[in-house]
Amino acid sequence: MNQRTLTVVAVLLLLACALPFLVSNYRTFQFTLVLVYAIALLGLNILTGYNGQISLGHGAFYAIGAYTAAILMDRFGVPYWATLPVAGAVCLAVGFLFGLPALRLEGLYLALATFALGVSMPQLLKYHHFEKWTGGVQGIVITKPDPPFGLPLNPDQWLYYFTLAVMVLMFVLAWNLLRGRVGRAMVAIRDHHIAAEAMGINTAMVKSLTFGVSAFYTGVAGALGAIAIQFVAPDSFNIFLSIVFLVGIAIGGLASIPGAIYGALFIQFVPNIADEISKAAPWAVFGIFMIGFVYVMPLGVNGAIRMLLARLGRKAQNNRSTAGVTRPTINSPEEV
């Protein structure tokens, strides 16, 4: 990370810290959800963006994380912060185990397997033999945590900071993972799995592990989401949630860490905007937004920003060069 990126990140973090004092409690709550979704999207992006495995069922891992947190808090009185590692670990295990047979499946077939997982999750959560823990169709209500140590914050603000801290931690971990040996192995498998195997990468292991790590992230996000919303119910984790996650990473930008944040902003706020535009058919407006975004930025917001920066950089360079000397740019008509 170079000096300039570091500065940008620092400024953004400061802004994020100031946010709860600048907006209403409800908005703070909404931004908490943005942070939650960002973690979930980062998890999916690790799998799909970096490792090339498409999942249409990540909502299921989000649900498992959410239910783990809710059951621990509701039935066993575990404090909310302690549920996160457990939720993550459960999802890591489930994800890894799911990843093992799914290894044989590629592309569409994996998409179907995960799709099936996503579709059956609400049914499983409603299943009457599990009702003892899951609360069946009614779901589970949990209480919002109060700020500790007598901090002068309201619960919404505290939860926001708590989530922000978790998110920063998760992002730093992911950044470390992805730029290291494992990250390079993931990308190598995505780009050419046979070559990756020939280079001595244990593709089976890496792919299953990626699935596990991806599920871990999404599970932690699910737990945080449950705590923030104070409620879990089977039908809030339907297949549509999984699909929205996929839309989030496509619109944020595949294989990019900041892309997770752009995607999270999109899936949190664009439906609200759509709702304000048309009360009658808000989802139609949301759909139009989705398609519009893809038309304008086929590589996602992150891709578009990169292209813009590259163009600006070139322009600055051109302006600095002395009069009379023209540097060829990629966009000059001669080269097209």
């Binding site: 044989r104 077939y109 996929l246 139609a284 989705m290």
Partner: protein
């Protein structure tokens, strides 16, 4: 025993619906290597069109034919207007467009027709045909209609120059252009046909599941599974897969696991099949040259 026969036959009737939608998916997959997630909603929307026509006083069959025609046009228009701009975009971008279409169609249907369940008429008599006790007339009728449609499609692709051109364009677009085929239009025609097939499936299933905006959700999933079980690059396989999934779903739901977990278990089974036979029963095994 009677109950089993009944379930198998009923499974064939819904299987025909899955087979049709699976075939629609395969048609677009062959040309673009993408699964059109909006296929089910397109079918649902067309079924609503049929409902409107029937309520406006059209007879069932005129409304049926008109709907098939409208669906075809709708498919062509969607391809030309919505899909064409992202033809060369990354896979996930196109997937997002499909999902966008899905929510748009669903939302418009809710907006125009409200989410309440509507009954959709069946063109077939209410008393069982030939006094048989296993299948309702509608189930038999739906199977017959599906088979006629499949036969027509087979004849179209096998024996007409346009069908041949569509197959050529899907297989090898560069060469197809070199013999003068307008590949872009072939794709649009493919969308039109797929939409028309979906419309027929929707009209056949609506009397069974009732008409509501989410009626095709589960069907799309089963059709997706059917297409993959049969082999996603094989239209015949998709049809076979459709019937197989229909029967499996019904029999398992009735005798083994009950309806509560029917969806989950049927899918686990399908995934089991795929793990053992990753390219489906009739799919080509892809050998990659390194």
């Amino acid at each position: 025993m009677d109950a089993l026969i009944h379930q198998v036959l009923a499974g064939l009737a819904t299987g025909g619906i899955y087979a049709s939608v699976a075939l629609a998916l395969v048609m677009i997959y062959q040309a673009t290597h993408l699964v059109n997630f909006a296929q089910g909603e397109l079918a649902m929307f067309c079924t609503y069109l049929a409902w409107t026509l029937i309520n406006a006083g059209f007879g069932y069959w005129p409304a049926f034919l008109l709907t098939v025609g409208l669906a075809f046009v709708l498919g062509v228009v969607i391809e030309r207007v919505v899909i064409r701009p992202v033809e060369n975009s990354p896979v996930l971008a196109v997937v997002v467009v499909f999902i966008g279409l899905l929510v748009i169609l669903n939302s418009i249907a809710v907006w125009i027709y409200t989410g309440t369940i509507k009954t959709f008429p069946s063109p077939f008599p209410t008393e069982p045909l030939f006094g048989n006790k296993f299948m309702s007339s509608h189930e038999i009728g739906a199977i017959v209609v599906t088979l006629i449609m499949l036969l027509l499609l087979y004849a179209f692709f096998r024996f007409t120059p346009l069908g041949l051109a569509m197959r050529a364009a899907a297989q090898n677009p560069a060469s197809a252009k070199l013999v003068g085929i307008r590949v872009g239009w072939m794709l649009a025609l493919g969308w039109g046909l797929a939409a028309a097939i979906g419309a027929v499936a929707g009209m056949m299933v609506a009397p069974i599941v009732f008409l509501e905006p989410n009626m095709m959700g589960g069907i799309l999933l089963y059709a997706f599974a059917a297409a993959l079980v049969g082999g996603v690059d094989s239209p015949g396989g998709a049809v076979f897969g459709g019937f197989l999934v229909g029967v499996l779903e019904n029999v398992l739901g009735a005798f083994v696991i009950g309806n509560e977990l029917k969806l989950a278990v049927a899918l686990v089974l399908i995934i089991g099949v795929l793990v053992v036979k990753p390219s489906g029963f009739f799919g080509k095994v892809h050998i990659t040259r390194v």
